[in-house]
């Protein structure tokens, strides 16, 4: 019998090169059962996509459980004693299904269409210019912490209507809430996540009150309007706003870092983008495919279902390894080659089905402006040393990315 590969997402080796493990898993005849999260891990693009699109496969099945079963499930995932997490994180748009999900998604979808997001281009450009000006004549810096990490939160903050000076606090809260989603779930992370959610909630309440008193041209004002029209509850408003803020931070920072790293690892591709800046849309999509910043989601089967050629019982939990699916040679020619002109590029880094990433246009526009501006400003960008990537199954991005630049 073939020895099963070892999946150890917290290991240094996995952080260095998850694709080696993904390839081993993809080459198995059957999905791999990963005990730590009680899930069957799917790595082939066709299987991952089929499950993401299957309407009987749900991300959250709480509404199908009895009260006792629900408490038991919460205990297993270690958030049974986290009241704010339960109230605002476990009930948000991402965790809702069916009519509730459709109602909430419809209320915010218009804010994130390509046409609405395109209006943010000047705001993003001005902020990116401001940050790069702030670097002065430094010719070496950490691309992640000194630059990229500031952009997504600032821009999503502007969209929602968060004052600029509050954006740094939101990033800290977001990171503390999100960290609890990985497979580790230790007690320190848990306490931080619960406290951050409570503070985040209290902060958003003050913003809601401010907008109700003095409406502005921003998403928060329109959300308050939805609440006042009876289209969403206050808890739904808070949870949805929190989700948008959280989703607008970490993953875009991660893919900015891995995207920059990819351009530096494949200098011929970077040069192609410099020679033809109109390739930026395709290049950005390729960055999402090459290192998907949220490489792991899950779904539950709500009925007996065939997946990857075999039957699974209702209640089975599946791991959707988007990061692996996006390197599947059955879908992508030369999958380990970073190709800024790949088209069509039917990657699934934004997920699929009804939960398809709401903020994808905003993330892509941030990246478009950033990489286009960097290439205009800097005659050369080089890697100072090989970066270390974050450990874990649920996130993918360099912790730091030290680069050396030469200006024109």
């Amino acid at each position: 019998m073939q020895a099963l590969p070892k999946l150890d997402p917290q290991s240094e080796g996995f952080a260095r090169d998850p694709h080696h493990t993904y390839t081993q898993l993809r080459n198995l005849p059957d999905p791999y059962y990963y005990e730590d999260v009680d899930s069957w891990m799917l790595t082939k693009a066709a299987d991952v996509e089929a499950v993401a699109l299957n309407k009987t496969m749900l991300r959250n099945v709480d509404h199908l459980l009895s009260a006792a079963e629900r408490k038991d499930a919460q205990r297993k995932l270690n958030w049974h004693d986290m009241p704010h997490h339960e109230r605002f994180v476990q009930t948000n748009l991402l965790e809702s299904e069916g009519d509730t999900h459709a109602r909430l998604r419809k209320l915010v979808f218009r804010e994130f269409t390509a046409a609405m997001i395109a209006r943010q281009r000047d705001t993003i450009q001005a902020f990116v210019d401001h940050l790069l000006d702030g670097l002065g004549d430094r010719d070496a810096f950490d691309f992640v912490e000194d630059f990229a990490a500031h952009v997504p939160g600032h821009i999503i903050g502007r969209v929602i209507g968060v004052p600029d000076e509050d954006c740094p606090r939101l990033r800290v809260w977001s990171e503390q809430v999100v960290r609890f989603f990985d497979v580790g779930r230790n007690d320190d992370d848990k306490q931080l996540a619960e406290r951050a959610t409570k503070e985040f909630y209290e902060y958003l309440l003050t913003l809601v009150a401010a907008r109700r008193a003095a409406p502005q041209e921003d998403l928060m004002t329109r959300m308050v309007g939805h609440q006042d029209a009876g289209l969403m509850s206050e808890d739904e408003l808070i949870a949805t706003t929190m989700l948008i803020l959280m989703a607008g931070h970490g993953s875009t920072i991660d893919v900015l870092g891995s995207g920059m790293h990819a351009l530096l690892r494949f200098p011929d591709q970077h040069q192609r983008l410099r020679d033809d800046p109109k390739l930026i849309n395709l290049a950005v999509q390729e960055m999402f495919r090459f290192e998907s910043p949220l490489p792991y989601f899950h779904r539950f089967a709500t009925e007996d279902t065939e997946v990857a050629g075999r039957m699974f019982k209702a209640g089975t939990r599946f791991g959707l390894l988007y990061g692996a699916a996006n390197r599947d040679p059955a879908r992508f020619e030369n999958p380990d080659q970073f190709d800024v002109s790949r088209s069509p590029n039917r990657h699934i880094a934004f997920g699929g089905g009804t939960h398809f990433c709401l903020g994808n246009h905003l993330a892509r526009l941030d990246m478009d402006v950033i990489f286009t501006t960097l290439n205009q400003r800097f005659a050369s960008i080089e890697l100072a040393h090989e970066p270390a990537y974050k450990p874990g199954l649920s996130v993918r991005g360099p912790i730091a990315l030290n680069i050396a630049v030469k200006r024109h």
Partner: protein, 106 residues
């Protein structure tokens, strides 16, 4: 077997054969029409499989349901003949259907 012709914004014509039960979006993906991005995979959740049904076909195919009509309010350059191709299921009487593909979905 149902023949569908896609006409892209630059005039490129692609003929493809769709099987009943497929959607027009799936037929476009099989035919490698890159401008039908269809990013959500067919859940009426992204609006990036937007297409224009050739005017003489508009009345011959079932019209958009509520979810699709809502989503069509958000696409780039909507017209009276706009549809989401993921919501048009191919039937044998659509043989010869002509679909115009917009320049860009994003």
């Amino acid at each position: 077997m149902t023949k569908i012709t896609f006409i892209e914004a630059d005039g490129t014509k692609t003929e493809t054969i769709a099987q009943p039960g497929m959607t027009v979006m799936q037929a476009a993906v099989h035919a490698n029409i890159a401008a039908i991005a269809a990013e959500c995979g067919g859940a009426c959740a992204c609006g990036t499989c937007h297409c224009y049904v050739a005017p003489d076909w508009v009345g011959k195919i079932p019209s958009a349901q509520e979810d699709e009509a809502d989503m069509l309010g958000f696409v780039i350059d909507p017209q009276d003949n706009s549809r989401l191709s993921c919501q048009i299921e191919v039937t044998p009487d659509m043989d010869g259907l002509v679909i115009q593909v917009p320049d860009s979905q994003t």
